[in-house]
């Protein structure tokens, strides 16, 4: 029924398309008929007051929740109800609002887990250290170090993740997600709990990630960061899409202002 909309108005292809997503928890409608597109190579912000359904949307796109109705497309492929591990292999990865690190593993090992889909040695070849596995292990380690250098965490490679300061933990989560070499990264409040210096460093990192060709979708409460880095913004309120546009358009949108200030 839906023709693949490969091109949108500016000519950039839509890499991720959210089509009429509805999610009902028991009697609560968390998301209602939400649709929008994320253009390839863009930074798209998803904002809205608490309880707007932003994290629920992320959980649906990354396969952690199943939507009640609607579809998610990656390019032209319908990826609705795909498992998170399958989506990682296809190039969709995320970070978490409450940093989900592998806390008992080192920083380097965390990123090495991110290369799981880029390697394939099984239990037998790992147990017997077959030549192919040794080669692959070397590749995993080099690649992981590459990502740590990219994000500036290389000096902390051998530290246990649990001992990392909070701000660095957030960066580690991003490094780990980058190691998956995704098409799209969904970041759930990456600036939460960061100080202003860390937030501005994060903004620069996000821009550098985009420059390397990765599309970013961002749930964030820090409006300065959102307005600074995003090309396009989707506003959710009480599970519905309230507005969509450039940062400037959103800032001037009366409905958005009302939703945020709680006017009726």
């Amino acid at each position: 029924m839906n023709l693949p909309q490969a091109k949108s108005e500016k000519g950039a292809a839509a890499v991720l398309r959210i089509k009429n997503i509805t999610k009902i928890f028991g009697g609560l409608t968390a998301l209602e008929d939400v649709s929008f597109e994320v253009k390839d190579g863009s930074i798209t912000g998803v904002i809205g007051p608490n309880g707007a359904g932003k994290t629920t949307l992320f959980n649906i796109v990354t396969g952690l929740y199943s939507q009640t109705s609607g579809d998610v497309y990656l390019g032209d492929k319908n990826i609705s109800f795909f498992a998170p591990e399958t989506l990682a292999g296809m190039g969709i990865v995320r970070t978490f609002q409450n940093v989900e690190l592998f806390s008992e593993m080192t920083v380097l090992e965390n990123v090495m887990v991110g290369l799981h889909t880029k390697s394939k040695s099984g239990i037998i070849s790992c147990a017997f250290k077959l030549p192919s596995q040794i080669k692959e292990e070397k590749y995993i380690k080099e690649k992981a170090m590459h990502w740590l250098e990219f994000t500036g965490l290389a000096d902390h490679a051998d530290i246990e993740a649990a001992n990392l300061p909070f701000g660095k933990g957030r960066i580690l989560e991003i490094s780990r997600a980058l190691a998956v070499e995704p098409q799209v990264i969904l970041m759930d409040e990456p600036a939460a709990g960061l100080n202003s210096l860390e937030t501005s460093q994060l903004a620069m990192l996000i821009k550098r990630i985009r420059q390397s060709g990765i599309t970013i979708v961002l749930v964030e409460h820090d409006m300065e960061l959102v307005m600074n880095v995003c090309d396009s913004i989707v506003v959710l309120n009480l599970g519905k899409k309230l507005a969509e546009g450039t940062p400037r358009e959103i800032q001037e949108n009366q409905e958005v202002i009302a939703a945020y200030l709680g006017e009726g």
Binding site: E85, A88, G89, L101, E104, M105, L115, S119, G122, A127
Partner: protein
């Protein structure tokens, strides 16, 4: 020194120690104890892969141990099959059982998984007891032949010691390799945060079943070796108490440490010898030990040992600056 080189050195020293120890022992009593430590190490390593690395509890691992022992016992005594062939059959059968029940059972988490595996252990125990025509029931199964290698028959403690410890060393080495690979990292990732592991592309469901299968397979090998060493088996060795003892070994030794499993197995094998005076109250000592360990040394004895070594190396290193 790189981590990898250090691992090789530690394993070499450990192997050397295991190989030469019999020459310093007099009398077969100690050798016999060491044989049991070997079997228990095998079991503790198997359970550690599941519990220490993947973070999945099993309170029924004695079932796989018993299954290995009984398959070996029954097939050799009743059908006259070769002990080595039977060991392979036992491992394959136990692994297959784990693979089949792993899919439904490992969907459960925490207490529910503990209950399900507990149930498995009890079911197997009842089967060992009640199928008298096959297993001999509560009075046990005797006359199980010893292992052999050509003309060499493993019918004395010295031979058994080398048979069991060489297999144990191989399994330890393979487990160490596994733990340091992408599979080992994926298992630890599942342990730390299953949801994050999945988002990173780790198929947690399949991997948990795989490691459960490997764990059951190793346990069955231990069971088979036990049967051929003892030449007599009875259900009492494969009950709930032993499953708990295995969990205790892994926790006391150190979750997620292969050498820790050896340490835990060694202590829990030797301890009963000292606790004989307490008779049935020895279980209280185990309980206390578990409580003390989880409260004061959650990383297990191996972790305590590492801290002592690091502390000592730190003192020495003030001058030399060794890597510890």
């Amino acid at each position: 020194m790189t981590k990898e080189k250090r691992e090789i050195i530690i394993f070499s020293i450990f192997t050397l120690a295991v190989l030469i120890i019999p020459f310093f022992l007099r009398g077969s009593y100690y050798l016999n104890v060491l044989v049991f430590i070997g079997i228990n190490t095998l079991l503790a390593v198997a359970l550690n892969l599941l519990l220490g690395y993947a973070g999945q509890i099993s309170l029924g691992h004695a079932a796989f141990f018993g299954l290995g022992a009984y398959i070996s016992g029954v097939l050799t005594t009743r059908f006259g099959l070769d002990p080595w062939l039977v060991l392979v059959i036992a491992a394959a059968a136990s692994g297959s059982l784990a693979f089949i029940i792993g899919f439904p059972i490992l969907k459960l988490k925490g207490h529910y998984l503990a209950m399900a595996t507990l149930g498995l252990g009890i079911i197997m125990y009842i089967i060992f007891n009640e199928t008298v025509a096959v297993t001999g029931g509560p009075s046990g199964l005797s006359g199980i032949p010893n292992m052999h290698l050509g003309a060499l028959i493993f019918d004395n403690d010295m031979n058994n010691y080398y048979l069991i410890w060489i297999i144990t060393l191989i399994v330890m080495l393979l487990s160490i390799n596994l733990s340091q690979s992408r599979i080992g990292r994926a298992l630890r990732a599942i342990h730390n945060s299953e949801v994050a592991a999945r988002v990173m592309g780790v198929n947690a469901r399949i991997l948990k079943v795989q490691i459960f299968t490997v764990s059951a397979l190793i346990s069955a090998v231990a069971g088979s070796l036990y049967a051929h060493t003892m030449t007599f088996i009875s259900p009492a060795s494969f009950g709930f108490n032993f499953s708990v003892e295995l969990v205790t070994m892994v926790i006391i030794g150190g979750l997620g440490s292969i050498y820790g499993s050896f340490l835990g197995a060694a202590i829990l094998t030797v301890l009963p010898e000292f606790l004989r005076v307490l008779q049935d109250f020895d279980i209280i000592v185990y309980g206390l030990l578990l409580i003390i360990m989880t409260m004061y040394l959650p990383g297990g004895l191996i972790n305590g040992l590492q801290k002592i070594v690091e502390f000592a190396a730190g003192k020495v290193g003030k001058r030399g600056g060794s890597g510890a």
